[in-house]
């Protein structure tokens, strides 16, 4: 699982056409696609509307992306790139476990409840049955990778005697899930129209950290 490489879909290269692709226009198209896909889902989004929202002609869409699916995959890829680094920084520079987990957890909760991130999850989940590769790649280079990264951090702390773990990966995912309790699910089902407040996130993550430390925190002498 290489963090930098790992193309979501093998044919990604086909998204990059011959010469003279204007990166600015590409971005413009992806912005339009993001808006329309988020609002309509994959199937209900129409290439015409994407073109209109992006401010380009339908023909131009097909100069930059081979078809609707490639456009969508490129969009998902871009989003993941955008979000990746942000969260994990919190893990690497704080010797205090509780503080590191709190910062990480709050960053994660903020990220995963943002409008666009929720939309992207909805869409990928919605098409996962028909586009299993996309679903799997998204999962593996997103949530699963995140779990591994956190597991590594936790294992390091365990080696220092600061934590007591049976299964670092399970512990990591447990913490990640706890940070989203009562927050993610209503967002995914569109039962909570606004991202949670900072206070709410703070409260949930504090509880998650408390729970995590109660279980794995104090190495018993």
């Amino acid at each position: 699982m290489n963090e930098t490489a790992e193309p979501i879909v093998k044919a990604t290269a086909r998204n990059r056409r011959v010469a003279g692709m204007d990166p600015e226009k590409r971005r413009q198209i992806l912005d339009g696609a993001q808006a329309v896909f988020a609002a309509q889902g994959f199937d209900a989004a129409s290439m015409s509307e994407i073109a209109a929202v992006a401010g380009v002609s339908k023909g131009t869409l097909y100069v930059y992306f081979a078809d609707k699916e490639h456009l969508f995959v490129a969009l998902i890829e871009r989003e993941r790139e955008t979000q990746k680094a942000a969260v994990f920084d919190a893990l690497n520079d704080d010797p205090d476990v509780v503080r590191a987990l709190t910062r990480f957890g709050e960053g994660l909760a903020h990220l995963l409840t943002r409008d666009f991130v929720v939309s992207a999850h909805r869409i990928v989940i919605g098409v996962a049955e028909r586009m299993p590769d996309l679903g799997r790649d998204f999962y593996e280079s997103g949530p699963k990778l995140g779990g591994y990264r956190l597991a590594q951090f936790l294992a390091g702390k365990a080696e220092q005697g600061l934590l007591s773990l049976d299964d670092a990966y399970l512990a990591a995912v447990q913490f990640i899930d706890l940070c989203q309790s009562t927050l993610l699910r209503p967002r995914l089902f569109n039962a909570m129209r606004e991202p949670p407040s900072d206070d709410e996130i703070h409260r949930v993550v504090a509880s998650a950290v408390a729970m995590f430390m109660a279980r794995y925190g104090a190495p018993r002498r």
Copy 2:
């Protein structure tokens, strides 16, 4: 789906048309719809295929359900009814908290990772942007209600001094989430093609219970 006018989910009565609706035929249609929606998703599922799989004519579909969306909503409703009762029985008849939680958690994990349940979640999540009412209703009468029910159970145990809780609902959702750590997400993204084994569920739920009890279990003297 128009959000302001005619709430689709509440309007179920409209599904029951004139007189002689054969409940058996209705069930037959829903069975076909279940198979097709699960395999294709909402948009890719075609009414023709549903009619064919259900063994009725397309015209008959529209006698029993006003349109594709109403059919889908009715299907989701039926599924929720089917699943609701099953899980919560575990809570009411066991005075031992750990045993009750374990039974409840394992039942829940089994249920939520079953093929059809995962499919239903995928579809509802996938259309949640376009059908917010459906998403909200599904969430509120499913996950949220489940959280409340478990919270009630936990609050009862707290009153008996068996648990020490700040926020019963948050604790309930935390437990529910922990029971699905490493299990639900790969299923939703179609990165795990088979439901998890009993052993795996057992292991995850045991860890969830341990975590829960470590945090909320010991009543402070």
Copy 3:
């Protein structure tokens, strides 16, 4: 080379859909397709225009024919069926070679210069590069088969001592070509807008018969 069987395109069966295809409507569609294909050629003909001319909806087109190419192939098949038997009758009931050839030749010239037959030839020739199977099948079950049938007739007469042939098939094709000299080519290139008159055909075929008999007619003692 079976005269009755030999499907032009192997997948012809796919033209015949499940149940309840109204043969009258099928004919109606083929009539519309004939008009539009003849006027525009294969590529320039649009399915929308065919539907309009046929007086059916576009959707109906696709109920009866899988796609544009299948519709076209079915049309060509129907035409060939329509025309097949007509010409060769002249060969079987006349003991006089000159009279038989004259009747056959005139019938052939009439047939092959008719508007629709010319159109069909133009279209098949026009798409032969991209649809080689169609071109080949058309040729083999049309012109080539015709050559064989005439060759059989000529060989029979040769056995009776009425003709003297080296190569019956070559002689047959030569006669067929002579019957169309100055008639077919200008029609194919659309340089002659009307079918030739009976007189013109009579003159050309008489000359063809004379030429044929001069070469193959009198067995030299």
Copy 4:
């Protein structure tokens, strides 16, 4: 192609635009167009592919040719020029009728069964309905002119008492058709993928000459 206004073929002058048209580049474009039109037919050939094969930009195409149709017409014109002279030389320098006809006939058969010539015929025939002017011009300055030229030659020989003709033009076309019997048609329909061998051409033309001489050869005393 509008038949009444602006005859396309005659309007060739319009292909020559402003000043500095590079004849070399024009040739280069026509070469590319020839390859693509031959391989795809008129409609399926794309201007983009022609530009790519010709090694020029799409914009340049439109500097040299007003549109796709003009480009195609110019190509057909060039081909006709290229081929014209070649065949008729055989007629002028041989006092022996049989030898002259044989050489002419073999040259003609070779020419008309060459890949590119067959392709050109296919395309012109294929679009003759939509571009009647092109079809007529092609016919008149090609096959028809050829017929007249041969007719003139034959008439000369008749005056010399070497042939006995009723209708020199009909006789000429008959001979031309006989030279292609069994050769041209399967090529046009793409049922014969390679040009015929020299031997095959030799055999067919020999039979054509024999037939022609049997009919028109012996001046009646």
